[in-house]
């Protein structure tokens, strides 16, 4: 099938099998370097990308679900200013994911930040294959640690504990909110 979609801000037209997983499209057809895992199912969580601003396990999303989708991978996201908020939080806490899950954990945190700061477009369809649980919706103050921890468990890499991750989310959130206030 011919697949038209936007990957990291670039409009692409790809010829792929209709059931080819997004992970393989990104690694083989697009040449994405940040994804290095393929568990053929929801086991490792190291293949997370944003599809229409929703974080999904790319190994579970087939090509036919991606028509006109806006896909953001860590390769593209790492060049944005939003990524800097999360990386600053890593530096401030002194904790950082291991290289294997760095890209996925960063995308996951970005998705949580977008939800918590209300950057998602309202009324968007959030039913996607590769989503294991409903997302945190709306601006929550203070941080609903349980919901965030549940969302963070999408990535199963054991390099960090939940406490460290929550601390990172909290600090990144404060940076993001400050940035949004300045913009407003």
């Amino acid at each position: 099938m011919n697949l038209d979609c936007i990957i990291d801000g670039k409009g692409l037209s790809l010829s792929v099998n209709s059931n080819k997983p997004l992970l393989l499209i990104l690694t083989e057809d697009v040449g994405c370097r940040s994804l290095n895992s393929n568990c053929h199912g929801s086991r490792c969580g190291n293949c997370l990308v944003l599809v229409n601003d929703i974080v999904v396990l790319s190994c579970l999303v087939p090509a036919f679900r991606l028509k006109d989708a806006n896909i953001q991978t860590f390769d593209g996201f790492s060049k944005t200013r939003q990524c800097r908020d999360i990386e600053r939080a890593y530096q401030v806490t002194g904790n950082m994911p291991c290289p294997n899950c760095y890209a996925s954990k960063t995308m996951l945190i970005e998705s949580i930040l977008q939800n918590l700061t209300g950057e998602h477009h309202a009324g968007k369809e959030i039913s996607m294959p590769g989503r294991l649980r409903p997302q945190i919706v709306g601006e929550t103050t203070p941080l609903d640690e349980e919901a965030v921890a549940k969302e963070l468990s999408l990535n199963t890499c054991q390099c960090m504990d939940t406490g460290e991750l929550l601390q990172i989310v909290e600090i990144a959130l404060s940076y993001r909110r400050r940035k949004n206030v300045r913009r407003a």
Binding site: N17, K20, L24, E28, G31, R33, S34, N36, S37, N38, C39, H40, R43, C44, N46, F74, S78, E87, Y90, Q91, G94, N95, M96, C98, P99, N100, Y102, A103, E145, A149, Q158, C159, M160, D161, T162, G163, E164, L166, Q167
Partner: protein
């Protein structure tokens, strides 16, 4: 295993392979030149699905011209790889020794169709009886003193414990991609590997291409359990064979787990009434799976871990290696040092407990240098270590907590699901080592040559891989030693491809390379301003020492946990760590690595971490002196294992040390105590 600490973190603190410019420009260029996506052959390895047996038939589907197979008959040279002094088969055509043994590889122009076609390949086996393959080699033994005479002395007490470290595996879903392509007569291989020299030799032996015609381009990787040590060489060899047979560039993809060898240790320690240990008898059995590798070096590393931390009258240690029909297991972050040191710490903790002493007080009284210990590990910084330990004990309030939990130790009511007082605390202390032992003969020593040219330009020629954080550390050392700007120091590989990838494996760059650079700088300094430029000095290998290992780092750890009496899980609450080492170049990377090691080790071994902010890891680093400290990773891992088992023992009032810890063991212990 020891180079991991510094390699993967670039200055912007993003993992190097995700950073801009992470892949060297010549690899990008070569990939575009030789590896066009349109013509590349994608391949996968087809592995055995049975534990042991003989291949009866291999039925291939109709493959056509779009597919290519590599089987044992396609191997041009030897169908085996040499690893140090041992051999392992490349592709099996007959005998299957373990589940997952490579049998053949299938290549095609599209990875999806290759995977679909691979499912149509039918391999039938004649199964052999399980357990037939078990073999045991002669044990490695070290002893000092007359064990029989010493242990017959009256009024001696003894502690006998067994420690079981079952096979662990790392996840197998990280994809390793290796590309091979021919350019004229030269074979280019792009691969993640920890051991470039081995990869080049293996490819040469198997394809019969001269070593000089093989260029390895190393891509960045992350291998916390030494995943990129031997298997990438196997894959590279298969890729090279396919490249030669198909006359196309190829890319092979594979994901494979690595295993920790199963270890069973039985240890008896005799001690006097005041707690002074007099003799230690250790019997260890290690199952390395179907293909035992590095057994001799592993025994050396385990001897170092088992070394008694105080002077003894008699000591005996026997390590027996066995093989079975399980997948090969050798390196798992280290070669058994971590587990061996954990048993030592746990054992002497029990001795202190049996002597009715606080473990800290006992350690302060008896820990010290001894001939037995010095012959295995020469440790520096004993006085500083004692200060470090005192600070750690004060910070964690170990003495008070230990006394409280000890009072609760034999209470049965503490297991009530309503008022859970099943708590424990452990305290361990041990040295870190780096690299192979000084006895290891199978690894060619690493050479460094330094040339000082007019205009204070320095050229460093080493066969070791010089990109990344290691090279930055080495440049810093040279810059400080010779008073030369870092910009004037050049490693040949900074700008050029390495035809000779070098003989070093694992640790040499973090543990020994800086010392060698310091030595070569000293030699240059002696001749500088006396002899005319250019000055060329070189240091070959590392000086022979009397000890198997030398250590300049100490790690102390206190871990507190409680047992969840509803879920029967050990819940780790607080961890205090103190590290004393030589010079630290990147403190944040060091801290991150230590935290990662602690968290990963605990989770791997069955611990549950307290959720949210209830878990704290209080880490103190003390950097002392200008020498580059030995690796602390294995020591941190070992201290985590030791403190976890000690705390669990106290929380449950005595438990068989079996790691990873399982709910059944905890439940059985509680039930036994109730009865």
């Amino acid at each position: 295993m020891f180079v991991r600490l510094e390699r993967f973190w670039n200055r912007s603190n993003r993992p190097s392979f995700l950073a801009k410019g992470a892949v060297p420009w010549y690899i990008e260029r070569m990939a575009k030149t030789y590896f066009s996506r349109a013509t590349i052959l994608n391949g996968i390895v087809i592995r055995s699905t049975v534990d042991s047996g003989i291949i009866d038939t291999i039925n291939l589907p109709q493959l056509g011209s779009r597919f290519l197979t590599i089987e044992a008959k396609d191997v041009r040279g030897e169908n085996r790889l040499k690893v140090a002094s041992d051999y392992m088969p490349l592709l099996s055509s007959n005998q299957i020794s373990y589940k997952g043994q490579p049998i053949m590889a299938l290549f095609g122009f599209d990875s999806e169709s290759v995977q679909l076609k691979a499912k149509e390949i039918d391999i039938s086996y004649r199964l052999t009886e399980a357990g037939q393959a078990h073999q045991e080699s002669a044990p490695y033994i070290r002893q000092a003193g007359d064990m029989d005479a010493v242990t017959k002395a009256p009024d001696l007490k003894y502690v006998t414990r067994t420690y079981d470290y079952t096979r662990l595996s790392s996840p197998s879903y990280y994809i390793t991609r290796i590309m091979a392509g021919m350019d004229g007569g030269t074979l280019h291989i792009v691969a993640p590997t920890q051991w470039m020299f081995h990869m080049r030799d293996t490819v040469s032996d198997i394809t019969l291409i001269p070593k000089k015609k093989i260029v390895i381009h190393r891509t960045p990787f992350y291998a916390p359990h030494d995943e990129m040590l031997i298997t990438p060489s196997v894959l590279a060899a298969i890729a090279a064979l396919a490249c030669m047979k198909g006359n196309y560039p190829v890319e092979i993809q594979d994901s494979y787990p690595v295993y920790r060898p199963a270890m069973h240790v039985e240890r008896t320690t005799w001690f006097m009434g005041d707690g002074k240990p007099v003799a230690d008898d250790i019997k260890a059995t290690v199952d390395q799976g179907a293909i035992p590798l590095f057994s001799e070096e592993m025994s050396n590393q385990m001897f170092a871990g088992f070394a008694p931390p105080c002077p003894l009258d008699a000591y005996r240690c026997a390590i027996q290696f066995s093989s079975s029909d399980l997948s090969p297991a050798h390196f798992y972050g280290d070669l058994g040092y971590g587990e061996a040191l954990a048993t030592t710490e746990s054992q002497y903790h029990m001795v202190a407990q049996q002597a009715l002493q606080n473990p800290w007080a006992w350690k302060s009284q008896f820990y010290g240098a001894s001939d037995t210990h010095d012959a295995l590990i020469h440790c520096a910084r004993y006085p500083e270590m004692k200060t470090l330990v005192n600070d750690l004990v004060a910070r964690s309030d170990f003495n008070r907590k230990y006394a409280t939990f000890q009072v609760l130790r034999d209470e049965n009511e503490k297991f009530s699901p309503f008022i859970s007082y099943a708590r424990g605390i452990g305290f361990a202390l041990g040295p870190g080592i780096a690299g192979f032992s000084s006895d290891c003969k199978n690894i060619t020593p690493l050479s460094v040559q330094l040339q000082l040219d007019p205009g204070d330009k320095v050229k460093v020629n080493t066969c070791f891989y010089t990109n990344g954080a290691s090279a930055r550390i080495w440049k810093k050392v040279i810059s400080e030693q010779l008073g030369i700007q870092e910009a004037n120091i050049q490693f040949p590989a900074d700008t050029d491809e390495m035809v000779d990838s070098g003989p070093s494996v694992l640790a040499s760059n973090s543990g020994r390379m800086p010392s060698q650079i310091q030595r070569v700088c000293e030699l240059v300094k002696q001749k500088r301003f006396v002899n005319p430029l250019p000055l060329v000095e070189s240091v070959n290998g590392f000086p022979k020492s009397d000890s198997l290992f030398s250590s300049s780092s100490w790690v102390g750890m206190v871990l507190e946990l409680s047992v969840d009496t509803i879920a029967f899980q050990p819940l780790v609450r607080r961890i205090w760590v103190s590290v004393l080492t030589g010079r630290i170049f990147d403190e944040q990377a060091y801290r991150e690595k230590i935290r990662h090691t602690i968290v990963t080790t605990l989770l791997e071994n069955g611990a549950v971490l307290a959720t949210g902010k209830n878990l704290t890891i209080d880490l103190t680093l003390k950097s002392d002196g200008e020498d580059v400290g030995s690796s602390v990773t294995s020591a941190v891992r070992s201290m985590t294992l030791a403190t976890f088992s000690m705390a669990l023992d106290q929380a449950l009032g005595g438990v068989q040390v079996t790691l990873p810890m399982k709910s059944e063991i905890i439940l059985n212990t509680i039930m036994r105590k109730r009865i």
